[in-house]
């Protein structure tokens, strides 16, 4: 396929200009920021701010959730183990010597809420599913699939940084420009 100058192929096979992509990236960035803000403000109650990339140190914990169906991609949350321990304290409103399983579980739950929050803001149609989080630990420098990351955001909390990566690879029925309309939802929200 030969594309006109200034245009590039989208994940779903459509064609978008660089400006289209810029607008889309801005929209996605705002949606990720909003999803992260909601988690920090409700469940963590921790001051934070968007920061530039900070070199990671020590053991990193990664939680990854995959999207499938109307879109194909993933959302990854990555944080240093010591920061993850602090996040676990905040989630459980208790300081304790949590074991690795508990800390990994907390990072997976944060990833779940951020990915779910992004998906809700994105306005996905009813054919998109998200997986349960897959959590892994690795030393710095073992960042997997770095080239696949379409968008990466960093959130500083004191000396620690939470990294969120969103990568979408394919969409169906959306003309290639990954976008959907919000779906109506029943109003039996309990909390």
């Amino acid at each position: 396929m030969i594309l006109p100058a200034g245009r590039e192929k989208e994940p779903g096979g459509g064609i978008a200009t660089a400006k289209d992509r810029e607008h889309r990236d801005e929209r996605w960035t705002g949606q990720i920021d909003d999803a992260v803000a909601e988690v920090f403000e409700t469940m963590l109650r921790l001051p934070y701010g968007v920061v530039d990339e900070t070199p990671a140190m020590g053991v990193m914990i990664s939680a990854r959730i995959e999207f499938s169906g109307a879109i194909d991609g993933d959302c990854t949350v990555r944080v240093r183990d010591t920061a993850a321990e602090r996040l676990t304290d905040m989630l459980l409103e208790a300081e304790a010597d949590w074991d690795d399983e508990m800390i990994d579980d907390a990072v997976g739950e944060l990833c779940n809420m951020i990915a779910g929050g992004w998906k809700s803001r994105f306005g996905m149609d009813a054919n998109c599913h998200i997986s349960v989080p897959a959590v892994s630990r690795c030393d710095v420098g073992e960042r997997a699939d770095e080239s696949r990351g379409e968008m990466r955001r960093f959130y500083g909390m004191g000396e620690d940084v939470l990294e969120v990566t969103l990568a979408l690879h394919r969409s169906e029925g959306t003309g290639g420009d990954v976008d959907c309309l919000p779906v109506p939802f029943p109003s039996r929200l309990i909390a």
């Binding site: 579980d105 779940n112 779910g116 809700s120 009813a126 349960v132 939802f185 309990i190 909390a191």
Partner: protein, 132 residues
Amino acid sequence: MPVRVLIVDDSIVMRMVLERAIRHACPKISETTYAADGAEALATLEQAAARGESFDLILSDIHMPVMDGLEFLLEVQRRKLAPRVPIVMITAETGSPEVLRAMEAGAMGYILKPFTLEQLQMGIGALLQSAA
């Protein structure tokens, strides 16, 4: 008589968060039981039924390994394991197709993550009052 709640969630952290909210919303009178997935929860309900016991409220996550929340709900209804027991789904997605299907299948409502402890306590408190 204690109010009995079954929490079905693969996340230990989320089970602890939910239990804390229940204890705050219904101090001293609530009794919580855990299951890590739908299959474990079905076994718990069957064992309770064999003892002639029941639960007053079931809180179930949607996304779980082994058996997810929607399958669990449908199986509970098919086997008539918890008639008249309100089942509330827990989700992080507003437009989740699984939650939409759960609502259609008779779930009483849903809890949307993230939430503040106060919001959760208020919601669970109202549920427990109506269940008691």
